[in-house]
Every structure is written in structure tokens, then in C-alpha cells.
Amino acid sequence: MNISSILFYAISALILGGGILAVTSVKIFRAAIWLLFSLIGIAALYFWMQVEFIAAIQIVVYVGGIVVLIIFSIFLTQHSGKEMNSPTLSKKIFSALAALFGTAFVHKLIVHYDGFTYLSALPFNSNVAEIGTQMLSTTSHGFILPFEVVSMLLLAAMIGCIVIAMRPKNEIKNNSINNIENN
């Protein structure tokens, strides 16, 4: 039991504890904060695996982007201090049973599978220069096509968000008329 494995178990406890509290907490804002801790734990796990670039992306996109977006939407749509309706006991029990059964099944599969061929003798080169070169290369191990496709997807998602969240024009007009009449 050296420092590295202690660190791994601490990070795993943070991830799983944060995850469990994020799905069981009755106050929605607390659930979002626990999700934040769980995602930070996952970034720490990436640091522990020495893939620093992915860890940085995880922090920037998830912790800095998605969780902030979720917290904003909680503020826009919920009374954040109010407790949510707790699910019925039977639903809780059956969901927990389904999750436990799935966990046990996959656990058994992993324990009894011994076909992993470890190649850890090879160096694992995951520095940013290597990732950038492969991301934009057009050779057989290049990822230029998915990179371009995903950039189109991001553009489509951005435009789609604006269109979905935009208020219809006549509604804005009616509201402004109402405001003027109220004043």
C-alpha cells in the first residue's frame, strides 16, 4: 500500500460518494454541488493516470461549463431551497435493485475475464503536442475528419439552442404591450 494506491482509493471515494449524494440529495442545488465534487474527482483521477490534457479539458468543460450551466438553469426554473418530491419507496427499492443487479453482473464479468494483455512496458506518450499532431493529421491514425464533424455539430447545437430558447416574436410583442399598459 503505497502513496499512489492510497491516492487512488481516496479519489475513488470522492467520485463515488459525490455521485451517490448527487443522485439522492433532496435539495436540487445540493445535488448540483455534489455533482461538481464528483466531476472534480474524475479530473483528479485523470491527473492520477497522468493524462493531464484530458484532466484539464474535464475541468474546463465539465466543472467550468456544464455544472455552471446546470446551476444557472436551476436558478431560472426552481426554488433552489425547496425540497424535491421524494420518489415512492417501491420505485426506490426497484431502482436500487436494478442498479445493484447490474453492478453485480458487470463486477462478475470483470473479475472473471482474464484476457487483458498489458503492454505497460511501452511508454505512454500523451503530451499535448502528440495529441495536437494526431488530432489534425490526415494519415491513418489522424482524427481530422471527426474533428471537423464535431465542430459542425457544435455549431449546429449552438444555433439550435438559440432557436429553441428564443421566445416567439408575437409573444415578445404582446408582453411589451402588456408592460406598457401596466405602466
Binding site: 499512489s4 455521485g19 445535488a31 490534457f53 446546470i70 426554473t77 447490474g102 500523451s126 439550435g160 439552442c161
Partner: protein, 104 residues
Amino acid sequence: MQEIPLTQLLFVSTFLFFIGMYGLFTRRNLITMLMSIELMLNSVNINFVAFNKYLFPNNLDGLFFTLFIITIAAAEAAVAIAIIINLYRSHNSIDVEDATEMKY
């Protein structure tokens, strides 16, 4: 870090995935369901990075899958939150039980 075998990382991601699944089953609020989905996507990312690091250290395909999954998850969360806010505007609630117009 060689003391920790690959299977331990797989256990962590399995537990995280099924925690997310439990949340998806029990929650009735759209934002918390979205949070559960984020947990599940993250557990998949852990798997990709762990497999890449332990079994195929000579190439970086797992890292690229992780990067693209993170990108798509960000796009998905943005669209989902736009839909949730629109739903709140028309129904004054983001509970899935209140949005039953498209139920057959």
C-alpha cells in the same frame, strides 16, 4: 501506479455508471435526470482512458474518444437545458410527470 490493476478502475466506472442509472430511474426532475446522464457519460470516459493507458499505450485512440465524448456531452447539455427552459416557460414546471402531451 502499477499496484492498481486495470480492474479496479473498471470497478469505479461500473459503480459510477450504475449510480447514474439509479438517479435516472428515481428522479422525476429534468435537471437532475440530466445530471445523472452526465455521471454515466463520465464513467464511460474513465473506461476509455483507462483502457488506453493500460492496454494500448502505443496509440492515443481512447483519449480522442474521450475528447469527442466530452464535446458531444457539452453540446447535449446545452441543447437539453434550452429545451428545459422552454418547457418551463410553457408548463411552469420541469417535472416529467407534467409534460405528457406527447404520451400516446
